[in-house]
Amino acid sequence: MTTPQDSPTPLSVSEHRSVVRLQRAIQIGLRARIVFAVAAVAMLLSVVLAATTVTIAKNTLLTTREQALTTQALANADAITGALGSAETSDLQTLLGSLPQGGSPILLTGTSSGPAGTDPTTVSVDARYSIDTLPAEFLSSVVEDRNNAVMRFRFEQEPLLVVGVALPNSEASYFQIHQLGDIDTAIRSLGFKLAIAAFLTTLVAVGLGYWASKYTLRPLNRIRDAAESVALGQLDTRIEYADYAADPDLAPLVANFNDMVSALQERINRDARFASDVSHELRSPLTTLNASIEVLENARDLLPERSQQALDLLSLDMGRFTQLVEDLLEISRFDAGAVRLELDAVALVPTVEAAVRMVANASVPVEADPALTDVVIACDKRRLMRILANFFDNARKYADGATSVTVELHEPDHLGIILAARTVRISVEDNGPGVPEAEREKIFDRFNRGDQGGSRGIDLGVGLGLALAAEHARLQGGSVWVEERHDGAQGSRFVLELPMIEPIEADDPEDLAAVTPEEAETFALTGQMPAIRLDEASDQNS
């Protein structure tokens, strides 16, 4: 796909938005979105909370410290004021060093704007800080403007607090510098702990969101299960409305779902009824037509030659039309879901032999794997017969009839051994032109006769035979396909593969239908029901 910029007709904003929304919906599931939303909100809240806490704590600590130090500095300043007049510089230094909680005190004995030649003397205790350490504005505010002031600043990355006192009745100024590193460390440590707390909160929120989404989605899962069951053909599936009647969000959804399934069930039943009605409506006139044609044929010799020709044409197409109606009715029963599998205990090889005798015009050899001689499988005999009849019919139309039939046991390969069941394959070969690779799947489509369709002129049927064969096979968990002949000769090989399902003991013909197509398919997929050997029957035989 081209990007909107390259595209001759770029997507509109709303189109693009809906595409993005669609992509997002596809990429992120509902549950993931709920989890994500809950986690994001939790994380945001805990981060904001942590930041606020840190800020408040920091301010509180600093203010408290500032007040305490200011009070102390003023007291210290009083002490210095008393000593200032008499003391020598060295005495002052000793005094500064002995002040309680004096931090790094600096005494400035004069102002730079004092009388000429009297440079102000600086007395300090801590060599790390000098008067130049202090910000100029602060310094001038105290020294020049004679204000007491407090300030926080950084010096060489170190957070410092300075209290400046303009000593009364003199030009001297007293400064106390304090390190605030401990507060910084405490705040940083607090921030770190809060960050961990925020992370943990987010984690908990993810868990909570997951649980909440699971809880919220539980009704959706139930609807999904119900929908799956409907898709599998359980059309009487409904969700208990009473369970959700109290929920304003779910009640309409459940009601709509149930209504939808009811409508579907009604529709399918109607289709099945329709197929049945159509069947009756079509077969009735066909009976009249067939019977009337027979009456005419009985008197064929009495008709003028042209009428005889017309009768022959009528008769031929009547046969074709009857077959078409039969096939269409059969396939409409499949489409309407109105087919019923009638599984019977079938002795495979004798049944195939009998079927071949019945459907083949000439005798066709049946070659059976000796391992299958006494095998009995559950299978719908009528459908087996129809499939083989369609294979033979096809061979008659496109080749000169079937040449051989083989019945083989097919063991799944090693990779498939867990999933695949053992199957039987019944193959019908002919020596016609064969089916080209590209056509091999298509010929099982409805009304598709392959490329050679029509090449043989008359009586080609209507192209539903193989499609029906596929449906008949699929219904009992089997499949059909066409391949090349195994001996490499020209011709085609039509294969019917059936799962080896153990028959259920039943004499009652009604009970024989006890296995549903889904069950048969399950057996076929899981292979839980291998065919059995007919020891019991052989004993009884002897």
């Binding site: 009249t288 009998a354 005999k381 009528r382 009604e510």
Partner: protein
């Protein structure tokens, strides 16, 4: 075809669609049968009581009382061979028709020639041709094929002609396993493969009459996957 069965044999044909009835009657008459028509089930029952009938052909879907009911009513009074005609080959209709007492069924569109063949086979079996064994005894079960008599513990059992023919077919070679197809061919004269339901329902009907305990048969045995046999 050259048999004398067709001549003078009367078929009662119950069908409400007059076009079908007319055309099938013509075709059946061409085959040499004599055909009495009935448009409704009620009419058919009256007509059956009025004049002797050799075969009854009943369409299932009839206005008023349906084909199943007609079949049951006639079967209460007579062993006459009954063939059901259905537009649907669904299990339900076929089995219900056979349970109602029909001997055979055909689906529309009817092919009158095939129908004739079935009727012929039915009438032939109603009068067993080959002599076979004059007297067969299996435990409590006694069969005299020539006289059409079956009795259990000395008490005569009433079987329809098809049930009787089925029993005799199995009894003529006791122990031999007959596939459903064998039986369809021998008893019903079917050339068509496949519908074992016809055999199964008749076997079941037969068992309810000849077995002490139909659920655990001792005479008419099922051979799983292969068919049926009579236990010698």
């Amino acid at each position: 075809m050259g048999e004398t069965i067709g001549v003078g044999t009367k078929i009662l044909y119950v069908e409400d669609d007059h076009r079908i009835r007319g055309s099938v009657k013509l075709a059946l008459e061409d085959e040499g049968w004599q055909v009495d028509e009935s448009e409704t089930g009620e009419d058919a029952i009256l007509s059956f009581g009025r004049s002797p009938t050799d075969v009854v052909l009943i369409d299932i879907m009839l206005p008023g009382i349906d084909g199943f009911e007609v079949c049951r009513t006639i079967r209460r009074h007579s062993d006459v061979p009954i063939i059901m005609v259905t537009a649907r080959a669904d299990t339900h209709d076929v089995v219900a028709g056979l349970e109602a007492g029909a001997d055979d069924y055909m689906t529309k569109p009817l092919q009158p020639k095939e129908l004739s063949a079935r009727i012929r086979a039915m009438l032939r079996r109603a009068r067993p041709a080959q002599p076979g064994n004059p007297h067969l005894q299996f435990g409590d079960l006694e069969i005299i094929p020539q006289e059409g008599v079956v009795s259990r513990d000395g008490v005569q059992i009433h079987l329809t002609k098809t049930e009787f023919r089925l029993l005799v077919e199995l009894a003529n070679t006791p122990g031999k396993v007959f596939s459903r197809e064998d039986l369809l061919e021998k008893v019903w004269g079917h050339g068509v493969f496949g519908d074992g339901r016809l055999v199964d329902v008749h076997v079941r009907r037969l068992r309810t009459k000849v077995e002490q305990d139909p659920a655990n048969p001792r005479h008419v045995m099922t051979v799983r996957g292969l068919g049926y046999k009579l236990q010698p």
